[in-house]
């Protein structure tokens, strides 16, 4: 009997605690979910306003209305070019840079990595005004390539840091076998190391892309021609500067614009968690 009560009581206390924790979390989650519910419900509502409400009838008319080259296709294509270009440059440079940092011992490694770590947490927002002034002087203002270069540079410190940590996890023995067979460092990086750390490369790629996709201030400052604006800027120009905002359409466009990054994030979420704990560094 004594055994029974002792084994039952903590369990019931534990389940009571679990219920309390569940209840608390659900309340907070509801608060977090309200704005998200607004965007999803409004995008399907022909008479959407600023309040969360269930639409009378589900309609795709908002999506139809924003599916034009002006509102959706051109800005999303621009985003794709900017973020794709920036990500490609970031990943290639980071992979190359991480290789000697991870593979060879040098007295310069530690200072270099510390500088990189320092740079990962600098407030990039602060340098946008001088970057603008600099870009005007070297004629890179309002160019896609200039913006891509800056995107890549701003993402590079974190990418190098993350890439180096993933690369350290690939055992060196396999490469050494390749070297004895006469492969160069570059060959062994491309043929052996990178394929072995495929998931790591995917994490760096997706993370860089997601960061650039959502970034507003960089293209807002560096691009001037409306035709070149990525979605992050065009959405603000388009809906922010109009007298009457059609909230349903705004919501529909927000859904279209946000879905790719959410899907990409879900793809790498588990590994990113580990990467964060390991590398600790920036968000946003």
């Amino acid at each position: 009997m004594a055994v029974l009560t002792r084994s039952v009581r903590p369990r019931s206390r534990r389940s009571a605690r679990r219920l309390a924790a569940d209840a608390g979390l659900l309340v907070v989650t509801a608060a977090f979910a309200l704005p998200l519910a607004w965007v999803v419900l409004s995008s399907l509502d022909a008479h959407a306003d600023l309040r969360v409400k269930v639409p009378d009838g589900v309609t795709l008319s908002n999506f139809d209305a924003v599916m034009t080259s002006d509102i959706t296709f051109t800005p999303l294509l621009n985003s794709l070019i900017l973020c794709g270009g920036g990500t490609l440059l970031t990943v290639v440079c980071a992979a190359l840079a991480a290789y000697p940092l991870s593979r060879f011992r040098s007295r310069l490694n530690r200072p270099f990595l510390l500088t990189v770590l320092f740079a990962t947490s600098l407030p990039i927002t602060a340098i946008m005004v001088p970057v603008y002034a600099l870009f005007v002087q070297v004629n890179l203002i309002d160019t896609m390539q200039g913006t891509i270069f800056f995107f890549a540079a701003s993402q590079l410190p974190f990418a190098i840091w993350l890439m180096k940590n993933f690369m350290d996890g690939v055992p060196k023995e396999l490469e050494e076998a390749a070297w004895t067979d006469g492969a160069s460092s570059l060959q062994s990086l491309i043929r052996i190391v990178l394929p072995l750390m495929g998931p790591g490369v995917a994490v760096v790629t997706v993370f860089s892309f997601v960061m650039m996709w959502g970034n507003f201030f960089v293209p807002f400052m560096l691009l001037l021609t409306p035709d070149q604006m990525p979605a992050s800027v065009s959405i603000n120009e388009f809906f922010g500067n109009r007298g009457t905002v059609v909230y349903g359409q705004l919501a529909a466009f927000s859904v279209i614009y946000s879905t790719p990054v959410i899907l990409l994030y879900v793809l790498v979420a588990r590994r990113l968690g580990g990467g964060f704990a390991l590398g600790g560094a920036v968000k946003g």
């Binding site: 605690r17 924790a21 569940d22 608390g24 979390l25 659900l26 989650t29 977090f32 704005p35 306003d49 600023l50 309040r51 190359l96 840079a97 290789y99 000697p100 940092l101 060879f104 040098s106 310069l108 770590l117 947490s121 600098l122 407030p123 927002t125 602060a126 340098i127 946008m128 005004v129 001088p130 002034a133 540079a153 701003s154 590079l156 410190p157 055992p171 023995e173 050494e176 070297w179 460092s185 990086l189 997601v210 959502g214 970034n215 507003f216 992050s232 800027v233 959405i235 603000n236 927000s254 946000s258 990054v261 959410i262 994030y265 968690g273 964060f276 704990a277 920036v282 968000k283 946003g284």
Partner: protein, 311 residues
């Protein structure tokens, strides 16, 4: 060539002789090895270090948007002017309020509370919380801004709820704009703290908390005397990173209030932008940027110290 037994775990990690001797080949070899670093270093120097150095230079000039040819060196004038400028001091104050409210208090505490509750919650609830909170974090900045704008507007969801509860509603964006943008930042940024603290809490050995439980320590006491001291490094790094992130928030506030009404939600990044572009004073705007960068660097150095003791 004799080492081909794949099955056995590799013995001591020892570089092959070809790699190990740093003296053979000397300078040429180390130069060759450093070669892959070049593209990254060039990019970083041109597009990150360059602007920072340029920032440090034009902060001391009177560079303007119009008539850039005649900018001249003005020493510390921009900084002196800033500290006499009420609008600047207002921006410093608002940045402080914004950072303390949203980062130190909001994201940090709420993130820790969520992580601690998640340790005890049932799995489906845990998954749901994670999904919702992280979605808020992954959303593009501008979209997050629109969502919170809709939430806080006079006709928005928050007032609808207050009406329903028979509580007084108000025009949040007008009466308390800095509070509205701070809440927006909490909404958007808490996921990061939650992830950091979840990882930290998972690393605490179960035996320790169980032992304390057996000794009769209640929930709060366990939190205060055992859990918090054990995760203090995570708290340090998380506070640093949250603060740095919050210092540089621009898009969220821009979309929600444009720094207004008046300048009542104008934090330093927005003040910097307004001086540089709406008032065409690039030199002055850059001086503000430099101050922001210096504050950020100090936080960054503290963060590195914290991390170094950890590694």
């Amino acid at each position: 060539m004799s080492v081909t037994t794949k099955a056995a775990p590799p013995p001591l990690r020892r570089p092959a002789p070809k790699v190990a001797s740093p003296h053979r080949g000397g300078l040429l070899r180390s130069a060759g090895r450093a070669l892959p670093l070049t593209p990254a270093v060039v990019l970083l120097l041109l597009f990150l270090a360059g602007p920072i150095v340029y920032c440090a230079y034009i902060a001391f000039t009177d560079l303007q948007l119009t008539g850039q040819a005649h900018s001249s060196f003005v020493g510390f004038d921009n900084f002196r002017e800033a500290f006499r400028d009420d609008a600047f001091l207002n921006a410093v104050w608002l940045t402080l309020v914004f950072t303390v409210l949203s980062s130190l208090v909001g994201q940090n505490t709420l993130g820790l509370a969520l992580a601690a509750l998640m340790q005890r919650a049932s799995k489906p609830v845990r998954t749901l919380v994670g999904a919702v909170v992280i979605t808020a974090w992954v959303l593009p900045e501008v979209v997050a801004g629109f969502l919170l704008y809709a939430f806080f507007r006079r006709e928005g969801t928050l007032n609808a709820i207050l009406d329903w509860l028979h509580l007084p509603s108000q025009n949040w964006m007008f009466t308390l704009p800095i509070l509205a943008v701070s809440f927006a930042n909490v909404w958007r940024g808490t996921a990061f703290s939650m992830l950091v603290y979840s990882a930290a809490l998972n690393e605490i050995p179960k035996e320790i908390t169980e032992a304390a439980e057996v000794d009769g320590a209640g929930g709060w006491r366990r939190m205060w005397h055992i859990t918090l001291p054990m995760i203090r490094r995570s708290i340090g790094t998380n506070l640093m990173l949250n603060t740095l992130q919050t210092l540089s928030v621009f898009g969220l506030i821009w979309v929600m209030t444009r720094g207004g009404p008046g300048d009542r939600s104008q934090t330093l990044p927005l003040f910097m932008y307004e001086q540089a572009f709406q008032n065409s004073m690039i030199g002055y705007g850059t001086a503000v940027a430099l101050l922001l960068l210096v504050v950020g660097s100090l936080f960054s150095l503290v963060y590195m110290r914290l991390l170094r003791t950890e590694v």
